[in-house]
């Protein structure tokens, strides 16, 4: 099969020179194409593989991933979710006979609350709610932020002005205030309504970041070349520009999930997020904040869980950020 791009005088077969960075370098005219490879250069990595290798060298991120996976697995399998049953015998609404003051025992490892409910089941239920909301909010805000940012960055002109002023609108109102009002509106819509509402207000940071990336990417040669050939705008954005910005987007999405955990628990603490009878970690803390001196287990467990979840996601985001950074030349930790 002849290669029409091959400009070598005798039309030799095109042989890519393998390099460690995985970039195909065209042989070109008169280049010496060797069929033997230098030691260590026989493997070339794609961008995804490179990122994965760098990520797994970040010890804190790996540890956090394991920790987070553990928490998620325990939270969702212990008391079950939806129609699926769990392995933890007790439920989170039933009241059990109180053992003493409700302090932790083998029977109830996290203790019992004031009316005898099993606190482990309650906390696991709250963790489930918080994790579902956080991931949902992260995804929704990433999608909205990416779309708005890439449209604004690519089209420039009045579209950019309008979209950026809209972003400024959402930035000027303090996030907690806006989220509180929306949370109150969505209070009767259940957990998915709350997720939607929170996702609608947390996209602004990502939009600005993506706009910056797209602004610089659209001047690159491959985009100019694609436009010169006549590629449609949608295809340029989705197939050329965004895959190059994917590092920033993934890192921001992860950090958005961490921020969403804290936002949702803060809202539930203030009373504008998840409302009773459903439970959330923030709600548990707000209910038992005065019990801190007399029944500390009611207060420590939800708070520690929020801290560990947010910390793990933040470390994973940091590991991803280091992994995607092409200028990283020294392994971290």
């Amino acid at each position: 099969m002849s290669d029409t791009r091959n400009t070598a005088p005798n039309g030799e077969e095109y042989q890519p020179i393998p390099t460690a960075s995985g970039v195909d370098v065209e042989g070109g005219v008169g280049a010496v194409v060797s069929t033997e490879t230098l030691p260590g250069e026989d493997k070339s990595y794609s961008q995804g593989q490179l990122v994965r290798r760098r990520f797994f060298r970040h010890r804190a991120a790996i540890f956090s991933m394991i920790m987070l996976a553990l928490i998620i697995i325990v939270a969702f399998t212990s008391i079950g979710v939806g129609p699926l049953p769990g392995w933890w015998g007790k439920g989170y609404v039933e009241q059990y006979p109180k053992i003493g003051t409700g302090a932790p025992t083998w029977e109830h490892p996290f203790g019992q609350d004031t009316i005898g409910k099993d606190y482990f089941a309650l906390v696991m239920r709250g963790t489930q709610r918080s994790i579902i909301i956080a991931i949902g909010v992260g995804l929704i805000s990433t999608v909205i932020g990416t779309v708005i940012g890439s449209l604004a960055g690519f089209y420039r002109g009045w579209i950019e002005s309008v979209l950026m002023r809209m972003t400024d609108l959402f930035i000027i109102i303090p996030l907690l205030v806006l989220a509180a009002v929306l949370g109150k509106i969505a209070s009767s819509w259940g957990i998915w309504g709350l997720t939607l509402m929170l996702g609608l207000v947390t996209w602004t940071g990502l939009a600005r970041l993506v706009r910056g990336e797209v602004l610089s990417l659209r001047e690159r040669d491959f985009v100019v070349a694609a436009r010169a050939v006549g590629t449609g705008t949608g295809r340029i954005i989705f197939k050329h520009v965004l895959p190059n910005a994917v590092g920033t987007i993934i890192v921001s999405a992860t950090l958005a999930i961490a921020a969403a955990v804290l936002l949702e628990t803060s809202l539930s603490f203030l009373g504008y997020g998840v409302l009773p009878p459903d439970t959330s970690l923030g709600l548990l803390i707000s209910q038992y904040q005065t019990a801190f001196t007399t029944r500390p287990w009611l207060f420590w467990w939800p708070g520690l869980l929020i801290l560990v979840i947010a910390l793990s996601v933040n470390f994973i985001g940091d590991g991803l950020r280091d992994a995607f950074d092409p200028r990283q030349n020294r392994t971290k930790a």
């Binding site: 609108l169 109102i173 303090p174 907690l176 806006l178 109150k184 509106i185 628990t265 803060s266 930790a333």
Partner: protein
């Protein structure tokens, strides 16, 4: 430059208008303002419902209510603000004036502290990248970044406030506690300063001995309940600050700068005596006036001593002047502490922004406000410091990798000169935008902190308004915070233009 600012102001005003409309609409739609009346069983329920409908204009569509509110706000520009009335017929303006003071105090102090500490930590960790100090500060930053504010606030209330109040009644440390604290301080000192093993040992030993001796002396003289500082200590600390600032900014090569800074410290002490009677019972205006006088005088001293490095001498002198005034204020507060303890035996109350019916003089009131401010400020500062130090660190690392820094080093400049003269200012450029945006986040944190510490601030105003579906207080909260955010953005833009000369053209 002026056109730039005016254009930005114009766009900000339009965005503010749109944001206020959005906020008003959302608040009106967020619930049923008559809910509590509908659910009650009072005899004259119908009349109460009708009265509230008339009072709040509930039969009007939201845009008419919004237009009324906007006209009231427009009156602010001509001198008679009318922000409406709450459900209970209280003037929103009066409520806001009371509440805004507390919240703005908290947020500005937290921002200032966070900027100073965050940038310092960021630069220190960038210079000592990959050291143990760097890793632990980074871990600490992540920890405080992921900390739920409300949870930490309750913990802080218990351990910092209640335990401290219990302890101050006695005011003594057990000998084992003194040794433990000295050991921890010694470990931290050698950890931060680093160096060879011998140097670390010397640092640790010196710190241990110093802290242990000081704490033991404090114990014996009952310093925690009847502290003394004195003019000699003021002079010593100010002179030390002068030497430190000179060492950081210009180095000891230029003696004139050092003499200028030391002169500032001495003049500060002399003026402490000269203004002593005024400082015993001042007002806030007097204090601000004296502070501005300090800036001018120290700038003048620096200019007089300056020689060829006039601007640097002025900078060093002004910074030394600021530190000296802070040390003098500390001395005044220290002399008033014993009297304050008589009035308020449990200094850090966990409820409220100030003690009601407090009868102390000016400085004792300052101590009271300060004790109440301490814990919420610590919380908000810690969270902001986490993000500021991370951003400063990465920005500084990027600057230190630039070619012009390499050139400066190859020219033979000392590391200190490279960092303070070339790298520092360029590293600060991205931070200005971060600070401006973080301000809105700080307001949100203030809402939570006020809830936990029982402050009657803007956060409480907002929550009461939102719970009653009353747009008046909510919009007042929005006005204050949005205007503050716009002002911060403006300041950030001006700082940006000052720091980055490429923008000025």
């Amino acid at each position: 430059m002026l056109k730039f600012i005016l254009r930005r102001l114009g766009i900000s005003a339009l965005v503010l208008l749109a944001a206020s409309a959005l906020m008003y609409w959302l608040t009106v739609k967020s619930g049923d303002p008559l809910k509590d009346l509908r659910e009650s069983n009072v005899q004259n329920r119908e009349q109460l419902i009708q009265a509230r409908i008339d009072h709040m204009g509930l039969d009007l569509p939201w845009y008419e209510r919004y237009w009324d509110w906007l006209q009231g706000v427009g009156g602010c520009f001509t001198g008679n603000c009318d922000l409406g009335v709450t459900v209970n017929n209280q003037s929103v303006l009066a409520l806001t004036e009371q509440a805004a003071g507390a919240t703005l105090r908290l947020v500005t102090l937290a921002t200032l502290l966070a900027i100073v500490v965050g940038i310092a930590l960021g630069i220190l960790t960038a210079i000592r990248q990959y050291s143990g100090f760097d890793y632990s500060v980074t871990f600490g930053a992540f920890l405080f970044f992921s900390l739920p504010v409300f949870w930490a606030a309750v913990i802080l209330k218990e351990f910092a406030a209640i335990r401290y109040n219990d302890w101050i009644a006695v005011g003594e440390y057990a000998p084992t506690t003194i040794l433990a604290v000295a050991a921890v301080a010694a470990f931290l000192a050698q950890f931060v300063l680093g160096g060879t093993r011998r140097r670390r040992l010397v640092t640790a030993a010196g710190t241990f001995v110093f802290i242990a001796v000081v704490m033991f002396v404090f114990n014996v003289t009952d310093w925690y309940r009847n502290p003394v500082f004195g003019p000699l200590m003021v002079l010593v600390v100010s002179a030390a600050a002068a030497v430190l600032v000179t060492a950081l900014v210009t180095g000891f090569g230029n003696r004139r700068v050092l003499y200028g800074a030391l002169t500032t410290a001495v003049v500060g002490l002399i003026s402490y005596y000269a203004f002593g009677s005024i400082l015993a019972e001042p007002t806030w205006f007097v204090l601000i006036g004296l502070f501005l006088l300090t800036l001018v005088v120290s700038g003048g001293i620096g200019a007089a001593w300056g020689g060829y490095a006039r601007k640097q001498a002025m900078l060093v002198s002004v910074v030394t002047g600021i530190i000296t005034s802070l040390v003098i204020v500390f001395d005044i507060l220290v002399t008033n502490w014993a009297g304050f303890l008589q009035l308020k035996s449990r200094p850090i109350s966990t409820i409220g922004a100030s003690t009601p019916n407090f009868t102390g003089d000016f400085w004792e009131t300052v101590l009271d406000l300060g004790a109440q401010l301490l814990l919420p400020t610590i919380l908000l500062t810690l969270i902001s410091v986490a993000s500021y130090s991370r951003y400063t660190r990465s920005s500084m690392l990027e600057v230190l990798g630039q070619d012009y820094v390499r050139t400066a080093r190859s020219k033979g400049l000392s590391e200190r000169a490279v960092v303070t003269k070339h790298a520092f200012r360029n590293a600060l450029i991205p931070i200005t935008t971060i600070v401006a945006f973080d301000f809105a986040g700080l307001i949100g944190g203030a809402v939570i902190t006020e809830q936990v510490f029982g402050w009657k601030g803007m956060g409480q105003l907002f929550r009461q308004g939102l719970d009653a579906v009353d747009p008046g207080p909510v919009m007042a909260f929005f006005l204050v915070t949005a205007v503050a955010a716009v002002v911060m953005n403006m300041l950030a833009d001006i700082a940006y233009a000052y720091l980055d000369p490429r923008i000025r053209r």
